[in-house]
């Protein structure tokens, strides 16, 4: 046993020595990486660490942070009803728009791939445009206007489905579904582009081999040839859509107001902004941020291990 431990340390030291020598030789690499690495550490790694640190303190910027242990988390989960609403809303939005948006991205990318080249490039622009159109989504507040002048209300009233106009963005019953609709409209983003590009890159000879081996229709082709080839892109798209799904706040804030009626459209990020920028309870806001961080990372890891099984 002793011998074993000694050997282990000798090996480790040797490895460290090799790494050090290598590192010395590749000074140039570190020089090249340094600017990015420093900025990345400053604005991505350090904030996560400080966020975790502040989440255990009471901190309001004016006074220096005071350590209060788990108090922030306890009051978040046990006392803060609005936080529970926001968690519920965020999960609802994420669970519905995340997978749906992801599948839509793939489905449309796959269908577009069948089109001839020039039509394809136009269709890609049409489908991708909503996600880069800035705050164009506020146009939905015109469609769903609360009075009889709104298109949707007018249509439904003319069709005799409803008798009086529905206050789409004030009635808590309708807020979330409409926000989800808008988010789905915008969900063909970076992941979609990645899918479109990836599908074009699939090796053509594999399809030919497939025809020889008796692939009968496009669905079989999809399952046996396309999907396994697309695995890396599927992973990338999943990361993009999960991150987006849990970070929803712009759409709900713009359409339903901030704060919304009965907090019915409050998401975790909105809650975070409320405590961070309106009330300056940085410790509490950090606790929210830390929870959100954990949720996002865990979800990503879970989905990745699921995707690894595609086509195996």
């Amino acid at each position: 046993m002793k011998e074993y431990i000694r050997k282990y340390f000798v090996l480790r030291r040797h490895e460290a020595g090799v790494a050090l020598k290598k590192a010395k030789r590749s000074k140039m690499c570190y020089l090249f990486l340094a600017p990015y690495a420093i900025l990345f550490t400053m604005f991505y790694i350090l904030p996560v660490i400080t966020s975790i640190f502040f989440s255990f303190t009471y901190y309001n910027i004016l006074e220096s942070p005071r350590f209060i242990g788990l108090q922030n988390y306890i009051s978040l989960i046990l006392e803060d009803d609005i936080f529970l609403i926001s968690i519920k809303n965020t999960f609802l939005i994420a669970v519905i728009t995340g997978p749906l948006g992801y599948m839509m991205s793939f489905l449309f990318a796959w269908l577009i791939n069948e089109l001839p080249r020039w039509i394809r490039s136009i269709v890609v622009i049409i489908f991708y445009a909503p996600s880069i159109a800035g705050n164009c989504y506020v146009i939905f507040s015109v469609f769903f206007r609360g009075d009889a002048y709104g298109y949707v209300n007018a249509f439904l009233m003319n069709a005799g489905i409803i008798n009086e106009p529905i206050l789409w963005f004030i009635n808590p019953k309708y807020m979330l579904p409409i926000c989800m609709l808008v988010i789905l409209w915008m969900s063909l983003g970076t992941g979609f582009l990645s899918f479109v590009a990836g599908l074009q890159g699939v090796d053509k000879s594999q399809f030919e081999a497939g025809y020889m081996d008796g692939v009968k229709n496009r669905w079989q082709e999809l399952w046996y040839i396309t999907l396994p080839n697309m695995k890396p892109m599927l992973m990338f798209g999943a990361v993009m859509s999960i991150t987006q799904a849990f970070g929803v706040c712009d759409v709900t804030m713009a359409l339903c107001g901030y704060p919304s009626t009965d907090y019915a459209a409050r998401t975790v990020v909105t809650h975070l902004f409320d405590y961070g920028y309106s009330r300056f309870e940085m410790g509490y806001a950090s606790a929210i941020a830390t929870l959100l961080f954990l949720i996002m990372i865990l979800c990503n890891k879970a989905i990745q291990s699921m995707l690894r099984r595609v086509g195996t």
Binding site: F32, A129, I297
Partner: protein
Amino acid sequence: MSKARKKEKEVVYRKKLIRRRKPNRSVFGDIALYLFLAFVGVIMVFPIVYAVNSALKPLDELFMFPPKIFAINPTFDNFSDLFVTMGKSWVTFSRYLFNTVFITFVGTAGHLLVASMGAFVLAKYDFPGGNTFFKLVTVAMMFSGYVTAIPNYLIINGLGWVDTYWAIIIPAFASPIGLFLMKQFMEGLPSTLIEAAKIDGASEWRVFSRIVMPNVKPAWMTLIIFQVQALWNNKAATFIYSEERKTLVYALQQIQSGGIARTGQGTAVLVVVMIVPILIFVFSESQILETMASSGLKD
């Protein structure tokens, strides 16, 4: 070109067309596909077309009932009104525009340089810590910027950058998705190219600036569009409070929230804000798709 050769070429082209049709596709399926895509495409594009049309409507048409989707007498009144309002405000329109253009330009250029330098060594050299660092970057793509918003504010406050352009520009340099895409794309470059340059006596910087960078132009475009999109739409409401440093989008949205009297200008604002990212995408689509082809996340 002689007539015979032209004809020959056409025949070859026709043959190619026929061969291009995959053997296991039904005509019915193809028709259904086109119809379905056309239907969804109309839904996707409708809000945008509607927004553009509202911006072109004169005021009386905007409040017309029942509302029309297309403008009857399209005018640019809303846009000129917008410029008049901006011109009358305490800070002029050109200043807001300058702010946004400056932030977008410097932020994009810096990001491109810094991220490409990092991506180059991560993709082409094997050095201790490189892989670990890249894994950290991919983890950073997994959480959105909102998570780090508060500590970021504290850090920028500590650096004394609040209410300066740097508060927006410098953090934008470190955007993880840019480094990720650049690195994945650079991995496709043949290593022999770099070795050949080195044997010819080029220094590392020369290899990077003369060999690698010109060969990854499609990736440039991709980084540029993602960054422009992020910076152009960046309101930066938390970092910048003095009026003369506010971004265009922020100022425009202030006008937009001006209530019913500003309806016409509000629609013009929507168009001004969305037109830039969409145009850039339209002109660089093929290059972006070329980059995205190597965007896969391997593990």
